[in-house]
Amino acid sequence: MTGFAAAAAPSRRQEVFTALSRSGAFLTGLTIVLFWVVCALFGRDLVPYDPLGEDILNALGQPSAEHWFGTDQIGRDIFSRVIVGSRDILTVAPLATILATVVGTVLGLLTGYFRGIIDDIASRLIEATMAIPGVIVSLLAIVALGTSETTVIIVIGLSFGPGIARTVRSAVLSERELDYVAAAKLRHENSAHIMFVEILPNILPPILVESTVRLGYAIFAVATLSFIGFGLQPPSPDWGLSISNNYSMISGGYWWTVLFDALAIATLVVGINLTADALQEALDG
């Protein structure tokens, strides 16, 4: 099996890379996402002002040559805050997605490989949890467990797990009928070995696509939770949190205190979704 795969794999991989490098949507999406990743990693060293530095005398200043995006109600530089604001959401959302991917993959492998009554029950439960309005149950869980970044990661990670499990399970169902699994069984490999060493490497592409899609949802969810006060907490320059703190003042005409944060979220979410869509298309094609 390994020899055959080694011969077939590079050409398939090359095909995917060619498709991706020719996809305008993928390159655009990836560029946007990489821009924000760079901001998250090095933003603090690149921005002109301290994102937390208050300057009451210059509060609510319009966009100008000194403050490109203006200043907020306690005089903090909004440009610096928007750039550095990518950091927390790009920490929490990917960690939640990784947790969801691990939980979902294990659950999907177990239910798909063993079948039987456990699979029936687990699958019905997975479907049932997916039919529950997620944001609201997540909010309930966060209120019960206490608001913190860790809680947000755990709650979002667990609530996205079942969706990934369903994808993994259906991938496992088609893999387990293939000859290499039968061969492994004849060699008396144990189930854990077959699931994680034999099957898992072959279902990585759908897992990758699913995770990228869920990363988009996770950013959506973390931003929303931060906006209603149950996600990232002050003094984080997080975008959702900043909009939440400033939107009561927009009737006074201080549009710049929310517009740039809104555009930042918009570009990041659209960027991730463009990447995920293109990835799905290339791997399915």
Binding site: T129, A131, V135, A141, L145, I243, Y247, L259, A266
Partner: protein, 317 residues
């Protein structure tokens, strides 16, 4: 048909049961020792035990679950910690307000989304199609508070066409109410338009490419009639399912939209209950939303099977 119905109904019940378990057990984490919390750290241990016994929180979990869910099903949703009065008195009117907002949103987005999808399919791969498809999907993936803020800035602050607060003056007529609901409803529309348009577009393209369409054209029917009689009917069926599957999204959206526009619906009730850690209120709201959602998807599935004879023939998937 009946078997499909029964399966579908059983699934809704399982979903609601799982939801009620989640809600119940989350409720067990929060208060810690209820009697101790109410009476304070200096109270006598005997008094705390007595109060716990009186409140019933010293019973086995399963008994407590029964004692919580059974009255709930009969309309007694418990007492709000904050208002110290029955939760139902707040939840029911709030749900009514939310349904009003959701209805306005749906009435706007369904025709707009279908129109968008149909136009895109008729101009497939031309610039107009690209604008509708890409624009629609981009708007869909944005969190509601982001698209809501952009709408508020454009139509409320810069153009000054629409109110940015959904709370209308007392005694306002339906038209005035509608005027106040346009911006929040448009925010929901932006969230859903892309999905509906995408499904309608895909259904249209498939129907346009089908044999029956070719036959209708070849037998000399006018193009307009072909579209109306043959293409649209077949194209819109899958769209109904996607509209139904978005109810959950819509409910999640209400939480944010109502907070953003200060609208007194179930979303803002949840928001305020969460801020105040009013757990009985939160539990009731989440369960009520779950029930509403289950009923909505059930109705949509019924409608779909009613419109699509192929499901009635089989035993349902």
């Amino acid at each position: 048909m009946n078997r499909f119905l029964a399966r579908r109904f059983a699934f809704s019940l399982v979903t609601l049961f799982v939801l009620s378990l989640i809600v119940f057990f989350l409720g067990q984490i929060l208060p810690g020792n209820v009697g101790r919390t109410i009476l304070g750290p200096l109270a006598d241990q005997q008094a705390v035990d007595a109060l716990n016994h009186q409140l019933g929180v010293d019973r086995p979990l399963l008994v407590q679950y029964g004692a919580w869910i059974w009255p709930f099903l009969q309309g007694d949703m418990g007492q709000s910690y904050i208002y110290r009065s029955p939760v139902a008195a707040f939840v029911v009117p709030a749900l009514g307000h939310s349904l009003k907002l959701a209805a306005v949103g749906f009435l706007l987005v369904v025709p707009l989304g279908i129109l968008g999808g149909v136009v895109a399919a008729l101009k497939v791969n031309r610039p107009l199609d690209r604008v509708i498809s890409l624009g629609g999907l981009s708007a869909t993936v944005l969190p509601e508070f982001v698209s809501g803020i952009v709408l508020i800035l454009i139509f409320g602050i810069w153009l000054r066409w629409l109110p940015i607060d959904a709370a209308w003056p007392d005694g306002a007529g339906p038209l005035i109410q509608l005027y106040y609901l346009v911006l929040p409803a448009m925010t929901l529309v932006l969230g859903l338009f892309g999905y509906i348009a995408r499904m309608a577009r895909a259904g249209m393209i498939e129907a346009l490419d089908s044999d029956y369409t070719r036959t209708a054209v070849l037998k000399g029917l006018p193009w307009r009639l072909v579209i109306w009689r043959h293409v649209l009917r077949n194209a819109l069926l899958p769209t109904i399912t996607v509209i139904a599957s978005q109810t959950g999204y819509l409910i999640g959206g209400l939480l944010v939209v109502e907070t953003l526009f200060r609208y007194q619906g179930i979303g803002s009730l949840i928001f305020n209950a969460a801020k105040a850690k009013d757990f009985p209120m939160l539990q009731a709201c989440v369960l009520i939303i779950g029930i509403t959602y289950a009923v909505a998807t059930l109705l949509a599935d019924l409608l779909y099977s009613f419109l699509n004879p192929r499901i009635q023939m089989g035993d349902g998937q």
